[in-house]
């Protein structure tokens, strides 16, 4: 295995998002700063009798507005369709041509990769539950597989089945952009798209691609997803007040608010960006990945893996914790995450912990699962651009044991040159990416 010996600097030249607070970056950012919530009663399916009846849905989204060729993407799962919209926006900002056989943007398609942290498409629940209902004999506890198959064969639709695969959003982005470089999809639970951005950065650094369309796309707001998280008691059950349910770092937090969406960042080697005269939005300077290797069901009590990921990212960036101006936390609003994450930040940041603002935009966006990390990284880019830390909303009853500066309830104007984005996933997956205001030297 050889590197090209260059170790390219990696910059961000485009952003795109489709999320519960809007279908473009500026709308989302203004809503986050205004402390709006994406949460409301679930409409994607009838969740009225579920333990949690609300979620942070992408509303009124029309993917066809983003493409000349909606037919090509019409079978896409929710994540795939979100990814199309987000990718088109990001490419446009970066000056990358889409939907053309003759791109004139100066980027060799063989040098343009894709790296998404993307999740599954929703099961066809009518077919899934219907086939079980047709085949199961409750007296004998036996499945008649022929009856099951006969129902499934009629109710399951070929393209819907194909679109359940987690690599489908990447397929749509390839068709959209003609990208022929390395294409990868990863799914490390809630840390997936931070990992995708991190690994994509490494890909460019070593010379494996000049441009990577990186980020995440996911919707788990489907009956089986909500069932699974409900049984884990991971979701907030504050059904009477969806907008205030995501309340990271408070004493009354009772779980996360599930969201959905897609967030795409155009990562590019500095030399490519300069050659094309692309506007540089920020630089990716550090990435750290680790696993807790502790328990399937719980995070390590001291945040061992989170500490490792932060430390590795700082080392990779060649900076110390005192250089970080702002932390965009994983901050899920679950009892476990918020307290262990706080502990881990304190271990890594030591005396700097309390004066490094650390907020959670999940208080407004909700938790976009596979797409969360990339969406939050976009808010970091904007935080640097506007020198403004986004707030942790609903922080009215701080947990007395959690004593960092979480930027409660309103955004803060402050100098932000370096921001750290943290994402942690079930099973002990930890990924941290650090970005910096771009300067030539």
């Amino acid at each position: 295995m050889t590197h090209n010996g260059k170790n390219e600097r990696v910059v961000i030249t485009g952003l795109g998002i489709v999320c519960p607070l809007g279908h473009d970056v500026e709308t989302m950012w203004q809503a986050v700063l205004a402390g709006k919530s994406g949460a409301a009663k679930t409409t994607i399916f009838d969740a009225s009798t579920f333990p949690t009846t609300f979620s942070s849905e992408v509303k009124d989204y029309d993917f066809a507005k983003f493409t000349k060729n909606p037919n090509l993407h019409k079978d896409g799962n929710r994540g795939s369709k979100f990814a199309v919209g987000a990718a088109v926006q990001a490419c446009k900002q970066a000056g990358i041509n889409v939907e053309t056989d003759t791109p004139a943007d100066g980027i060799d398609r063989k040098r343009m990769g894709i790296y998404l942290g993307a999740g599954e498409g929703a099961a066809n629940h009518e077919a899934f539950f219907g086939a079980i209902a047709a085949g199961w004999d409750n007296q004998t506890n036996q499945m008649d597989w022929t009856k099951w198959a006969n129902t499934a064969a009629v109710k399951m639709k070929a393209m819907h089945e194909l679109e359940q695969e987690a690599n489908m959003p990447a397929a749509h982005i390839a068709m959209l952009t003609g990208a022929r470089g390395p294409s990868r999809s990863c799914l490390t639970a809630c840390a997936a798209s931070t990992q995708a951005v991190g690994e994509a950065t490494m890909m460019i650094r070593r010379g494996g691609a000049d441009v990577v369309i990186a980020g995440g796309a996911h919707s788990m707001i489907h009956p089986l997803g909500i069932t699974g998280f409900s049984r884990l008691t991971a979701l907030s059950r504050r059904n009477d007040s969806p907008e205030t349910a995501s309340r990271p770092f408070t004493a009354s937090r009772d779980g996360f608010v599930i969201g959905e969406g897609a967030a795409i960042l155009i990562l590019e080697s500095l030399s490519s960006a300069k050659k094309r005269g692309a506007k540089i939005l920020a630089e990716v300077i550090g990435y750290g990945s680790s696993s807790d290797a502790f328990r399937i069901t719980d995070m390590h009590e001291e945040g061992r893996g989170a500490i490792q990921a932060m430390t590795r990212a700082l080392t990779d960036a060649g900076i110390s914790c005192g250089d970080v101006n702002y932390i965009n936390t994983h901050g899920t609003s679950t009892a476990e995450n918020d307290s262990i994450e706080t502990k881990a930040i304190k271990t890594v940041f030591k005396e700097n912990a309390k004066n490094t603002p650390a907020s959670s935009v999940k208080s407004t966006l909700g938790h976009l699962i596979g797409a969360a990390g990339a969406a939050e990284l976009i808010t970091c880019v904007l935080a640097i651009r506007d020198n403004t830390a986004p707030p942790t909303m609903n922080l009215n009853d701080p947990d007395p044991k959690l004593d960092l500066d979480y930027v409660p309830n309103k955004p803060r104007k402050m100098q932000i040159d370096i921001a750290m984005n943290e994402s942690f996933g079930f099973g002990g997956q930890n990924n941290v990416v650090i970005i910096k205001r771009f300067r030539e030297n």
Binding site: M1, H3, D46, A47, S48, T49, F50, P51, L72, H125, A131, I132, A133, W136, N138, N141, M143, W145, A149, A153, M156, K157, A158, E161, L162, A166, N167, A171, A174, M175, G178, A179, G181, S183, R184, S185, C186, L187, T188, M202, P223, L224, T227, G228, R231, L232, S289, S290, S291, D292, A293, F294, R295, I296, T297, Q308, F426, G427, G428, Q429
Partner: protein, 438 residues
């Protein structure tokens, strides 16, 4: 950074041909077919009733006492990864917490794990009582599910089915605290996971990595899915031996199965220092994407595969003349096999006629995310023994296929072997192994 050499020092395989690498390799050499009539459920109502089924095993025997309680959280996919990982680590001589906690000889923070995983489909039977409690007038009712069905689902149910749980269980058992990733690129996930793990070592983020993949395709939902997408053969329900026919004129579709193929990758310095047995070196990897509006298949000219192979050759700094063996994806779907053959031919040029091509899925079946790991291990064994076994079921080559499909077992020195793959959705990958030379 100039170059860090990455070598393979351990291999582990659970496949339809057996529970170990040796079982698999002996089976491949003997031309045994691991495909049989599905026994996990009654397949009579399915258009394809065949699968590559792994022999029975007791998962408890592969899991240290400290992790026994977590066995109930393991879907079949996770079990397959746990079994293959244990063999690979044991074979490498590395002693992790899961091998022997008294004799650990690795640094957990310097170990990575990178596995390909499929989209795990849940156990239909496990769900059935909850569904049965959610019927109104014999039909499933979502409100009743929310009220009565949902609470019958076992509390930790979701954790059995998150794709990253393969790497998490293996990581917990063996105390792997370095970078951990789960590649979800369907049938090419294993190839890509190995490529990325090699990159992680090359960039210095770890010294050792477990890489490969595992997947269980034998689930009624997944088999039905492949039938509906028309990728599964429906012509051979009474002919297991002849069912999967890569590059054959009579090919009619793929056969899906269970498997796990995991290798130990290691920084050469690390391997040399500890006197490890070195199987092969990973000298080049490449990746690209097929772009096809009908994205359940790859594009007819296989261009995405050609680019991946060219990139791998370039990184290895070799030409097609140097390649002694190709293990292709070769799934037995006529349209995809034809496209793959064209893609390989475009990359190999005039060498196409010479280079032996040995598809394995006629024997191993199509094990999804496990394919890449199993094929790399098969290539390692071929290299070790200087032997390319005969391809099975390619009795009359498809008209448009110009590949040199291996007709008879051949003793030959293999210096460079290429494993390539692709998936529906279009991602492609190539991995080039080199016989180890100091």
């Amino acid at each position: 950074m100039s170059s860090t050499r990455v070598v393979i020092t351990g291999i582990g395989a659970i496949s339809p041909l057996g529970l170990t690498v040796n079982d698999m390799w002996q089976g491949l050499c003997a031309g045994r077919c691991g495909i049989s009539k599905i026994t996990a459920f009654d397949p009579a109502g399915f258009d394809c009733q065949l699968a590559g089924q792994v022999p029975d095993y007791k998962i408890q025997e592969y899991v240290p006492k400290s992790h026994r309680k977590a066995v109930k959280l393991m879907s079949k996919d996770i079990e397959l990864a746990v079994v293959a990982a244990k063999e690979a680590l044991t074979d490498s001589g590395l002693i992790t917490k899961g091998i022997d906690p008294e004799k650990i000889n690795v640094t957990p923070e310097r170990m990575a794990i990178n596995l390909g995983a499929g989209l795990i489909s849940c156990d239909v039977i496990e769900m059935a009582p909850a569904v049965a409690a959610s019927l109104v007038d014999g039909k499933f009712d979502m409100r009743k599910w929310g009220k009565d069905g949902l609470s019958l689902v076992t509390p930790l149910w979701l954790l059995k089915y998150l794709p990253n749980m393969l790497a998490c269980h293996v990581g917990i058992i063996h105390d792997i605290e370095g970078p951990s990733n789960t590649i979800t690129c369907a049938e090419v996930a294993g190839h890509i996971a190995i490529a990325e793990a090699a990159e992680i070592i090359a960039r210095g983020s770890s010294d050792i990595a477990l890489a490969g993949g595992a997947e269980s395709k034998i689930n009624p939902v997944l088999i039905m899915r492949q039938c509906l997408i028309k990728r599964a053969t429906t012509q051979h329900n009474d002919d297991c031996e002849g069912a999967c026919r890569p590059f054959d004129a009579e090919a009619s579709g793929s056969v899906f199965g269970d498997g796990g193929g995991i290798v130990v990758l290691e920084n050469l310095d690390n391997a040399t220092k500890r006197g490890a047995k070195i199987y092969a070196e990973i000298v080049g990897t490449g990746q690209s994407a097929s772009i096809n509006p009908a994205y359940e298949h790859i594009e007819p000219d296989g261009k995405g595969l050609t680019i991946a192979i060219e990139n791998a050759l370039a990184q290895a700094n070799i030409s097609p003349k140097d390649i002694d063996l190709i293990i292709p994806h070769g799934v037995g779907i006529p349209q995809d096999d034809a496209a793959e053959a064209r893609g390989i031919e475009a990359a190999m040029g005039t060498e196409t006629k010479r280079i032996p091509v040995w598809p394995t899925k006629s024997m191993l079946s199509n094990t999804g995310a496990a394919c890449g790991g199993l094929d790399v291990i098969a290539a390692v064994c071929a290299m070790r023994d200087g032997l390319i076994p005969a391809a099975k079921n390619c009795t009359r080559k498809a008209a448009e296929c110009n590949l040199n499909i291996v007709k008879e077992a051949t003793k030959t020195d293999i210096r460079y072997a290429l494993c390539c793959g692709y998936t529906y959705g279009g991602q492609t990958a190539a991995v080039i192994l080199k016989k180890f030379e100091n």
